[in-house]
């Protein structure tokens, strides 16, 4: 069985799930309060078509259900019991994960251009504090300070990944409640005027909450 996503609500009608990448009807495996959306398939080859098909299924589910946790490509289990065995260790972490993504979508921002100098790390810090400060700096994008401030009221969660390969500066993922999407878009577009010269932002979305489907 190929597993696409987890949800905490049984889909209203099975036929609404549609078909998976192997064109077989999707079905549901119940694991306690969680439902795994699966296809009877052992496909795992990461071709472009397969990746697009996996994404398409997750997007369909996200339109159908309020809280969907996408699975990374390639989760295959040997039957329903094996699916339940995979889910079992994650069970304590699923409820907060569902709440985090419930009724929300993700916008993905790719930032490129000329980097802004980050403030130096305090030399008086000990090795442990320095390590934490360096790690924290990895999640800050000073080039987008005005954009992040402008969209903050509409962002439920934020994830930032700095890039080390110029001209790519960072990938920024913003989780936005569906009811806030219009306001987020307006704030986002307005904030572009305040970006530093030489910085470029590519925005795509809305997506399912890929970057916020974490178990923690």
């Amino acid at each position: 069985m190929y597993v696409y996503a987890l949800t905490d609500q049984r889909p209203p009608r099975r036929e609404l799930l549609g078909k998976g990448m192997q064109r077989r009807p999707l079905s549901v495996v119940r694991a306690g309060k969680t439902y795994a959306v699966v296809e009877q398939s052992d496909a795992c080859e990461a071709t472009t078509a397969a990746l697009i098909a996996h994404d398409r299924v997750v997007r369909r589910l996200s339109r159908l259900l309020p809280a969907v946790l996408p699975l990374r490509f390639g989760t295959v289990a040997d039957g329903a019991d094996a699916v339940r065995a995979l889910i079992a260790p994650a069970s304590p972490f699923l409820e907060p994960a569902f709440e985090r993504v419930r009724g929300a979508v993700q916008f993905t921002l790719r930032v490129s251009g000329l980097p802004t100098s980050s403030p130096p790390i305090d030399p008086r810090l000990g090795p442990g504090a320095r390590w934490l400060a360096e790690r924290a700096a990895h999640h800050v994008v000073p080039e987008l300070a005005s954009l992040i401030d402008a969209t903050r009221p509409f962002v439920r969660a934020l994830r930032v990944e700095r890039r080390e390969n110029a001209p790519d500066l960072a990938d920024v993922y913003q989780l936005v409640g569906r009811d806030d999407v219009r306001r987020w878009r307006a704030a986002f577009r307005h904030s572009l005027e305040g970006l530093p010269s030489g910085v470029r932002v590519t925005m795509t979305g809305p997506w399912p909450a890929w970057s916020f489907a974490e178990l923690r």
Binding site: V3, L6, C44, E45, A46, T48, L51, I52, H54, D55, V58, L69, P70, L71, R72, F73, G74, T75, V76, A85, L86, I87, P89, A90, F93, A97, T108, R110, G113, L132, R135, H139, D171, R189, L192, E193, L195, S197, G198, V199, R200, V201, T202, M203, T204, W207, P208, W210, S211, A213, E214, L215, R216
Partner: protein
Amino acid sequence: MSSRKKKQGLERARTVGAASVLEGVDASLLDIVDHVLTKGIVLTGDVVLGVADVELIYLRLSALLCAFDRIAERQAGATPPERRRAP
């Protein structure tokens, strides 16, 4: 929309300068690959416990599933961060 407001809108778009927004198909395909291969939940039967994004305990390293970035890191000779086993 009045012609004056239309003109103001066009002028505002031109003054954005170096910052621009693209919502193109190519960008979407890149995002699909990024999302599907490097994001989302990984169910391996193991759990990574973390506090403030710091991975404190990693119980067991299982086979990773079709993640291009991991394969690419191995090919580049990058070493994964050290893990401490739970007692």
